[in-house]
Amino acid sequence: MNVWLVMALAGLLTYAIRLSFIAVLEKIAMPAWFRRALRFVPAAVLSAIIVPGLIDRGGIMDFSVRNPQIWSGIIAIAVAWFSRNVLLTIAAGMAALLVLQLLLG
């Protein structure tokens, strides 16, 4: 398949996924349990991406205490929990990683 065709179809597919419930909801009513479930979507989906991402170093799962990403992640979680500040959290997580990479080699 041509690169541009693949790209156009990939874009359509992604867009259809994002539009799905937004478009359909006009026609159907949402059950109460489904509405309750939706509150947990951001926390659940993003956490399922975060935790493996902290362990994964260039495609290899590194569970050792020398993995600087794990410690930087813990620092970022603590900063986020107490400060509730997005910019401070990202900056602290990145700074921690740069320092720990040097320390843990």
């Binding site: 690169v3 939706l38 659940a44 991406i49 991402g53 990202i90």
Partner: protein, 230 residues
């Protein structure tokens, strides 16, 4: 509190999305560079950022295109990697129900991880509910613009991005900044912890298929905890 004007909502969205760019811009730079080194043309790499507009899926698609994988395989991978956005769509849907079709189509296009997390926090806030779609538009456009510009810069500077930069780490840190401040009760903390732990267990599954399963179990646990504490 008096209702917010369109302008106040729009610029509110721009303001709240801005800190996220610290995590998004390096990701866009590296995408641009990686797409070129995978063999995509500059035009195709840039077009992918506006046509597909989904960070993780773009990384995988660019590498697969570079490796001459079959189109069907690439489309299946993009579908699986982006399936989590259906959950975002469901969660935003009740808030945009009354909007005109044009608005719905526009906001659906802008429904990326990083814009969704910011807009849903605002939609779930108490207070006057007028013009919140303008906030969503402000957040979405801020992310869109920075993604296009950082892709372009990445294409341009390409190989000059240091190899040792831990690319995979930018995304989890950005998501921590988005998720953790929104954890306000035992139910949402339980949902996050369970989904995170299961996400790790399922990390061996190809193309992030484990994310959806882990998230669904996390959502279920969140509902159970909520049921017990009420």
């Amino acid at each position: 509190m008096s209702p917010s004007t369109r302008g106040q909502e729009f610029w509110g969205g721009v303001r709240d999305e801005s800190p996220i760019l610290l995590g998004v811009v390096p990701f866009g730079l590296i995408f641009g560079a990686l797409a070129i080194s995978s063999g995509l043309s500059a035009a195709a790499a840039q077009a992918m950022s506006s046509i597909v507009f989904a960070g993780s899926a773009q990384f995988i698609a660019a590498q697969l295109l570079g490796a001459d994988s079959s189109g069907i395989v690439i489309l299946m991978v993009v579908f699986v990697v982006n399936l989590r956005h259906a959950l975002y769509s469901a969660s935003v849907a009740p808030h945009v129900r009354a909007l005109r079709p044009g608005w719905k189509m526009l906001l659906a296009y802008l429904l990326t991880d990083e814009a969704y997390a910011v807009m849903i926090t605002h939609y779930n806030d108490k207070g006057p509910a007028q013009n919140r779609h303008w906030y969503a538009l402000g957040a979405g456009l801020t992310l869109w613009t920075s993604w296009q510009v950082s892709t372009a810069v990445g294409i341009f500077i390409g190989a000059q991005i240091p190899r040792g930069w831990p690319l995979g780490f930018v995304l989890p840190i950005t998501f921590i900044a988005l998720v953790v401040p929104a954890l306000r009760d035992a139910a949402s903390v339980s949902a996050a912890v369970i989904a995170g732990a299961l996400g790790l267990l399922a990390a061996g599954l190809p193309y992030k298929t484990g994310i959806i399963a882990a998230a669904l179990v996390g959502i279920l646990v969140g509902m159970l905890v909520e049921g017990r504490t009420k």
